[in-house]
């Protein structure tokens, strides 16, 4: 967590006042309370469940409040195969999530179709929704998903916009 963003003028204030910018405080809050929306359609989702359960415990990183309503979440975890019939559903869920929102594409299938180079499977969800972090593997280990969440956190605290948002200067 760490209060690394804080500017402190200890001499003048006896350490009782901290100064910072509003963006940094907001991002600090955001990054430590990501609310994931699980979109688990296949075997990768099992690893995602393991990540959330006690053994790997994603709540250590502040992302345990899984929401099954896209309107209450800001991190979409696509874990599994997405068929051409499922893609409109995924897109609609992504559209329903409030900004700012981040997307993790978990596993080979979501990222590039994996071994399923067939007539029905989307060869990479990033053709249709913007993806912030890709996780390789079939399936990725829970540690890989945790690493991806940490990468999203890094991205947030660095002040970078999510992939899906156009930066308005």
């Amino acid at each position: 967590m760490g209060l690394d963003f804080v500017g402190q003028d200890a001499d003048q204030t006896d350490g009782n006042i901290i100064t910072t910018t509003i963006d940094k405080v907001v991002n600090w809050g955001r990054k430590n309370s990501l609310w994931p929306m699980p979109f688990g359609t296949a075997c990768c989702a099992i690893e995602m469940m393991a990540t959330l359960a006690s053994k790997f415990d994603l709540s250590r990183f502040g992302s345990e409040a899984i929401r099954f309503s896209p309107r209450q979440s800001d991190l979409l975890i696509v874990s599994g195969r997405i068929s051409i019939k499922m893609m409109p559903v995924l897109k609609r869920i992504y559209d329903q999530m409030p900004d700012p929102k981040w997307v993790i594409s978990m596993g080979a299938c979501a990222s590039c179709g994996g071994v399923f180079d067939t007539y029905t499977l989307i060869q990479g969800v990033d053709q249709f929704i913007p993806v912030d972090v890709y996780i390789p593997g079939c399936p990725p280990r829970p540690e890989d998903l945790i690493d991806a969440v940490l990468q999203v956190q890094q991205k947030i605290s660095s002040g970078a916009s999510p992939k899906g948002v156009e930066i308005v200067v």
């Binding site: 051409i84 019939k85 893609m87 409109p88 897109k91 609609r92 180079d117 067939t118 007539y119 029905t120 499977l121 989307i122 060869q123 249709f128």
Partner: protein
């Protein structure tokens, strides 16, 4: 005990005996594999045969396990066998009473894909026949709602046919979002 078993194995299964008695002209072939009786039935009589298998009190094949199809277009020998029928519609039945299975195969020609629906006999045939229609294009006559079940409604073609390319005909690149969302 052993002798008894041997005698049982040698004797003809009841289902074959009864079918030969009542529907001899419908049977094109018969076989037995791993304890399952396999019969090939003429399309014209398939409904009658299935109804008989279900309703006969001694056989009582009341459970329809599966309906599916096989595309034999790349198996020359099979094609030769049943008058060049490209497809085989397969019904798998189970009898709780006799605790045995029977597989009914029906040759279906490419230029006449109609076959009677068995939804009137088994309600569970509804989705199974829809899947077979979706994947192979078999037309089950009398089905209450023969629409696609796995593929999107606007999908063209029947992807489990052997001549359907594995990677499709470009549908995964060009499927239409707006149309699907509407």
């Amino acid at each position: 005990m052993n002798e008894e078993k041997e005698v049982e194995e040698q004797s003809k299964p009841l289902v074959l005996e009864k079918l030969e008695e009542h529907y001899a002209d419908a049977l094109l072939a018969q076989d037995e594999t791993r304890g399952t009786v396999v019969i090939v039935v003429r399309k014209e009589q398939v409904y009658a045969v299935l109804e008989y298998l279900k309703t006969d009190s001694e056989l009582a094949y009341t459970f329809l396990v599966d309906v599916t199809a096989v595309d034999n277009s790349q198996m020359e020998s099979e094609l030769m066998q049943f008058d060049y029928a490209r497809f085989m519609v397969v019904y798998q039945l189970y009898s709780f009473q006799g605790q045995c299975r029977v597989r009914v195969r029906v040759p279906v020609h490419e230029n006449d894909l109609n076959i009677p629906s068995v939804t009137a006999l088994w309600k569970g045939a509804n989705w199974l026949e829809r899947e077979t229609y979706d994947m192979f294009g078999i037309n089950f006559e009398g089905h209450p709602d023969l629409s696609r079940i796995l593929m999107p409604d606007d999908f063209e073609g029947h992807p489990l046919r052997k001549d359907y390319p594995l990677r499709g005909r470009g549908e995964r690149e060009r499927f239409n979002f707006d149309k699907q969302n509407a």
